[in-house]
């Protein structure tokens, strides 16, 4: 581990040491590749450290069924990833996949959710599990819901994990397998060479292959290697409350109780550019909603709020691509680094390592889909 970039030589350079980069890097190292991860310093826009920790299926890919398929595959692979990482790192990732609830405060919301997921189910030929529960039925599973809750949509494949332990376990497992992490200022320059790439300013590092996992940084890096990464920031805020005794055995899209007992409340969505600060107004609205869902939380104290920037493509779906003009350059970007970690490590990385595409629909995730048709 070094904290000066300097110069060196590697087979695979993974740009970005967040959950996406580390999952891919771990997966590549696992395939027997020699991998160096280039990470930023202590203070950076880090989606991986501000996320909600859901391993979440329901609702993903309503507008792109292949994304729904890919998400379900990753969620199904998660127990394997967790077991492997736990064995290698000694950490408990607190993975639980008991199914999860998207709680709706009024009938309109519930009906809209049902319509959305019903349409997705139809497009997937009926293979898409979810259940719509009204207030009374939901109350039997979540006895503490408030009187104003209309109901919820239950997704049997949903779950949650500790995203910070995931990050640490990936780091530990990757470095234990001989992977190297080089930290320092963000990589701004990548130059294709006759064979391979130069990483960073000259003299820089030399890599045979490069995988862009730099989140929002990909937008700038991708064109340098013949790729396109049209991603923009989208701020999410999370409230973190003091530890309480266990009261919530299922994750919900709005509130979850983490392993050590703290209650997390999320998740707002704002288009505010590169600003990961937190705002009291949003926090207030989130608090209000959480108390409507679980009234007994009203006297629970918020100890911290988090703002983090999601990495959003135009349609909100991942972008996986391989450069046509600069062979050996890959792009991996998404905003669901936790949910997709298993897919990235156990399926996508073997493809980047030279294997066959992991799923027949991989092409769907190419940035080609954003190409503007010439008609005006």
């Amino acid at each position: 581990m070094g904290d000066k970039q300097g110069m060196g030589e590697t087979e695979y350079a993974v740009i970005g040491g967040g959950l996406v980069g580390l999952a891919v890097a771990f997966g590549l190292q696992r395939e027997g590749r020699r991998v160096t991860v280039f990470d930023e310093g202590d203070v950076a826009f880090r989606a991986s450290r501000g996320n909600f920790g859901l391993v979440w299926v329901q609702g993903k890919g309503v507008a792109m069924p292949d994304y729904a398929r890919w998400t379900r595959l990753s969620a199904a692979l998660w127990p394997d990833l967790a077991a492997e990482l736990e064995a290698e790192s000694g950490l408990d990732l607190e993975l639980r996949q008991p199914g999860g609830f998207d709680i709706c405060l009024d009938d309109e919301e519930l009906a809209a959710g049902e319509a959305r997921l019903g349409a997705l189910r139809a497009r997937l030929g009926g293979d898409y599990p979810f259940e719509v529960m009204g207030h009374n039925r939901l109350r039997r599973m979540l006895p503490h819901i408030g009187p104003k809750v209309a109901g919820a949509i239950y997704g049997p494949e949903d779950g949650h994990t500790n995203p910070l332990y995931l990050l640490r376990a990936l780091t530990a497992a990757f470095t234990r397998r001989g992977g190297q992490i080089v930290s320092g200022p963000a990589i701004q320059d990548i130059a294709p060479l006759g064979s391979g790439f130069r990483i960073g300013r000259a003299p820089g590092w030399r890599a045979e292959k490069v995988v862009l996992c730099a989140g929002l940084g990909n937008a700038r890096l991708a064109p340098q290697v013949g790729l396109d990464a049209p991603v923009k920031p989208n701020r999410g805020q999370v409230l973190i409350c003091e530890r309480v005794k266990p009261f919530l055995p299922y994750p919900t899209a709005q509130v979850r109780q983490v392993g050590e007992g703290a209650v997390q409340i999320g998740d707002s969505k704002e288009d505010v550019g590169f600003d990961d600060s937190t705002t009291p107004r949003v926090a207030a609205a989130m608090a209000k909603r959480a108390v409507r869902i679980f009234p007994m939380l009203e006297n629970v104290r918020v100890v911290r709020t988090w703002g983090a920037l999601r990495v959003m493509s135009q349609d909100g779906h991942p972008v996986y691509d391989r450069s046509q003009t600069c062979p050996g350059a890959y792009l991996v970007t998404c905003h669901s680094g936790v949910t997709l970690a298993a897919g990235h490590a156990l399926r996508l990385a073997p493809w980047i390592a030279g294997g066959e595409p992991p799923v027949p629909y991989l092409e769907s995730f190419s940035a080609q889909r954003f190409a503007v048709s010439p008609a005006a």
Partner: protein, 474 residues
């Protein structure tokens, strides 16, 4: 609709009281918010209800705080104690809860006078019940009228330790031992700063008098002590340490620690202001101009919260910030401001001249900056120095990464008591400087706030712009 206030002063210690008095005196409508139940901050704690006997016991450096009270008593300043301030935005909205009611005010200007807190003094066992800060014992003396008794051991370094020991003796108490961790050679190292110290001769004289007082009372004084370990299961039973090549194990019912004080930076950090590392006193301070202005328009800092200066200098800085606020609010023209400031600046300079000597003399021993592996550095989440070093080995460069890896700084104190130590440990483990390692990014709320209190800040039920995330919660 958020209520507008021309000036909000945060903190009713010497700096805040000085700022409020000066601004109100110039005709500025001034609101003074403080989390404590009475004015005075920690140094003049409970000054408003202290009687003559208490003031005599605590000495003239305490009693002089009474001179700051008239502006409150006359009603010139709108003083609201018991205000739990949980967020201040760069746009100068002040969110706080008082009497169970959450509220927000919009200030045209803010003076932050959040004062100092004890420097963490981590060593194995420092979390046991019965181990407290020396400042805590002084707060009890001032506010509850209690004096330490029985097997009382004072450990650490710095003038407050001597002052507290002397006050305990004056109140008829007993000090079982003074375990002085000031590294040998500190006096020699501080001597180059002596000329500055001599510009504030009373400070030097006071220090020497305190030492003489302890000697006369026969308080055992262990110099150059190190390798501290507090022993006990349910509470402290003994303090082990080495001094002069010998190992000691002193029975102890109350252990009072002191290693100097450091600025309380939670608000300036949460505001995202620039902070600089001050190598001599080994702490951070916000970047300020000579009036105390920060880089955020309309937000100033005065007193120990901007770098440790002591009570008198804090009051001077408060007055300067108060004058500047009055000037910017159009209640004082620049010429009058400068005329009033001139004398204050002279007094301030004399006070500050003594700091380098004191900072060097009482620089904390290395073992407290970079404690042994088995020492809890994060009291809340129970993270040890050894774990922090492990995270550095895993690749962490700074405290925000170690926080993500091991929760240090994520507990209810929000990093107040571990921030300095964690960064010092990382700096040494990496062989990097403190500026390079940095500090925790402090996130609001700066004090825990209930969901109901937060929810009350969304009265019109608008919700966040852009709506809640339904499909994409990752």
């Amino acid at each position: 609709m958020t209520k507008n206030v021309p000036l909000i002063v945060i903190g009713a210690g010497p700096a805040g009281l000085g700022a409020a008095a000066e601004a109100a005196g110039a005709g500025v409508e001034t609101l003074l918010l403080d989390e404590q139940p009475g004015p005075g901050g920690q140094i003049y704690r409970a000054i408003a209800r202290s009687d003559a006997a208490r003031r005599a016991l605590l000495g003239p450096d305490y009693a002089r705080g009474a001179a700051l009270l008239p502006a409150l008593e006359s009603g010139a300043v709108d003083y609201r104690p018991g205000a739990n301030i949980w967020q201040i935005t760069p746009e100068r909205e002040v969110y706080f809860t008082r009497d169970g009611k959450a509220q927000v005010l919009q200030a045209a200007r803010i003076v932050l006078a959040t004062g100092a807190m004890e420097r963490p003094m981590p060593f194995p066992g420092w979390t046991l019940p019965g181990v407290m800060t020396a400042g805590a014992a002084q707060i009890m003396l001032k506010s509850a009228g209690t004096v330490p008794q029985g097997e009382v051991v004072l450990a650490g370094s710095g003038p407050l330790l001597l002052l507290l020991a002397s006050q305990v003796l004056d109140a008829g108490g007993r000090v079982a031992a003074l375990v002085d961790t000031t590294p040998r050679g500190s006096l020699m190292a501080a001597l180059p700063h002596l000329p500055g110290m001599l510009r504030a001769p009373s400070t030097l004289k006071k220090g020497l008098a305190l030492l003489a007082r302890l000697r006369r009372a026969g308080v055992p004084h262990y110099k150059g002590a190190g390798d501290l370990r507090a022993r006990g299961t349910e509470k402290i039973e003994a303090l082990r340490f080495t001094a002069g090549g010998r190992e000691y194990d002193l029975p102890c019912a109350l252990l009072l620690l002191h290693l100097g004080v450091v600025p309380n930076l939670q608000i300036t950090r949460a505001l995202g202001l620039a902070h600089d590392w001050d190598p001599l006193p080994r702490c951070w301070r916000p970047r300020l101009d000579s009036w105390g202005n920060t880089e955020h328009e309309g937000i100033a800092v005065a007193g120990d919260g901007g770098g440790i200066v002591g009570a008198e200098a804090s009051e001077h800085q408060g007055r300067l910030a108060g004058l500047q606020a009055a000037c910017q609010l159009g209640k004082l023209n620049p010429a009058d401001r400068d005329a009033k400031a001139a004398g204050i600046r002279r007094a301030l300079a004399a006070q500050r001249a003594a700091r380098p000597f004191l900072d060097r003399l009482y620089r904390p021993a290395e073992a407290f900056l970079d404690p042994p592996d088995n020492t809890l550095v994060c009291r809340c989440e129970e993270v040890t120095a050894g774990q922090i070093r492990d995270f550095v080995r895993l690749g962490c460069l700074g405290p925000n990464q170690t926080k993500a890896f091991g929760r240090a700084g994520m507990g209810p104190c929000q990093g107040r008591f571990c921030g300095l130590t964690v960064s010092e440990v990382i700096a040494r483990a990496r062989g990097a400087g403190m500026e390079e390692v940095g500090h925790y990014r402090i996130r609001p709320p700066i004090k825990p706030v209930t969901l109901a209190e937060l929810a009350a800040m969304d009265p019109d039920d608008t919700g966040p712009e852009g709506g809640f995330d339904r499909d994409d919660a990752a």
